[in-house]
């Protein structure tokens, strides 16, 4: 029962933390709850479909297809997180000044609602498909299944709670620093997801490894430990990274940073102060 709980907890954790971060980072954007909820719903639907197909040996989602799908999912999350961050660096100041006023709206720019939807969708879909498959395997195995299903549900609840804790923690950050901290969180998250995508593309032979175990910090912090896994999700910690993972991490990090700086500095000249409607 406990083993099941731990496995489900690990599967849920990534999605839970990602959603907590984007919910935190999109604070003050009106209507974000609906988009995030929609993303979770669609993600669960997608997860079930992928879980079903991944378990059919001959399907395109088995083996290579599965790894490529994972890479595509991760990279689309990276693109959406980038869009979100760039948008935030252009409008964050405006938002943080209005964040106290409930129901305030941001007047300029296209709000990254699709980004919120897609990020939550893919976060839920990726680990969710594994969770669905795992639970399904327990149920059909028959042995002690009720106990194990209960354990699994417990794991899901704890995973969601950790996400809520992170969200609550984020909200305690003073408004002045809020958006710069969340945008750094998203920047590191996106770089880590890009590195994961590189791992999947290397797994199917589409990318060279460029060296395995460029360093090995397993002895200091195992990636399979709880802290190791948390850092893996949040900042992309890899105990024994391959060269290609490091390249993806650094390149993604730099691209997002440059985009943020470019659009962040433009905003002063581009965005006019919002006029008070009379």
């Amino acid at each position: 029962m406990l083993a099941t709980a731990v496995i489900m907890f690990r599967e849920v954790l990534e999605a839970s933390l990602i959603i907590a971060i984007v919910l935190g980072a999109s604070r003050g954007i009106e209507g974000r709850g609906r988009w995030v909820a929609g993303g979770i719903g669609l993600g669960l639907l997608g997860a079930s479909i992928v879980a079903f197909l991944a378990n059919v040996a001959s399907s395109v989602f088995s083996g290579d297809g599965q790894a490529i799908l994972n890479a595509v999912i991760l990279l689309s999350a990276v693109v959406m997180l980038t869009w979100h961050n760039v948008w935030m660096s252009a409008h964050g100041k405006q938002l943080s000044s209005e964040v106290k006023a409930v129901g305030s709206d941001v007047q300029s720019g296209k709000r990254p609602m699709t980004a919120l939807l897609v990020i939550t969708l893919v976060a839920v879909m990726r680990e969710g498909s594994e969770a669905v498959l795992f639970l399904w395997a327990i149920v059909t195995s028959g042995e002690q299944s009720l106990n194990m299903v209960l354990g699994g549900i417990g794991g899901v609840i704890v995973g969601i709670l950790v996400g809520l804790l992170l969200y609550a923690g984020l909200l305690r950050i003073p408004t002045r620093h809020f958006f710069s901290i969340t945008s750094w969180l998203i920047l590191l998250l996106a770089a880590g997801l890009a590195a994961q995508a590189a791992g999947f593309l290397n797994q199917v032979g589409l990318l060279p490894a460029l060296g395995n175990s460029v360093w090995n910090t397993s002895n200091i912090l195992s990636q399979n430990s709880l802290i190791g896994q948390l850092l893996h999700i949040l900042v992309g910690y890899i105990a024994r990274p391959s060269g290609i993972e490091i390249v993806f991490y650094i390149v993604t990090f730099l691209i997002i940073l440059v985009l943020m700086r470019t659009y962040g500095s433009n905003r002063n000249s581009r965005v006019k102060p919002v006029e008070n409607p009379g």
């Binding site: 290579d64 599965q66 105990a239």
Partner: protein, 111 residues
């Protein structure tokens, strides 16, 4: 330790098919073999064959591999080229199932 080393040296001869492909079998909730050796510095094909009815997820954070293997199914992934060393893997759906890949420098030079 010496025995283990010897056994792991012999394993490739005993357990694996030709073509430089390696096969890892999941049977009765165990990886068979639980440890096997591949040449270091070489990219090899690894076929993970699941003979159990339950799906498994072959996963290794040491070499960043993660793939679902359907019940009574098999998947092929690439491993390496690896530096000499030991790399752990496990079934993410059943953490009691663990094993390791040993990458060894080739004694005789081959292509």
């Amino acid at each position: 330790m010496k025995h283990l080393l010897l056994i792991s040296l012999l394993l490739p001869l005993a357990a694996f098919a030709a073509d430089g492909d390696y096969t890892l079998t999941i049977k009765d909730h165990l990886f068979q073999p639980s440890q096997f050796t591949i040449p270091a510095g070489k990219k090899v094909k690894l076929v993970v064959r699941n003979q159990d009815g339950l799906p498994a997820e072959f996963e290794s954070s040491d070499i960043s591999r993660e793939v679902i293997v359907p019940g009574h199914g098999e998947v092929t992934i690439f491993v390496g080229p690896l530096e000499p060393g030991t790399y752990q893997f496990f079934n993410d759906f059943n953490h009691d199932m663990q094993g390791s890949i040993v990458a060894q420098p080739a004694v005789t030079k081959g292509n």
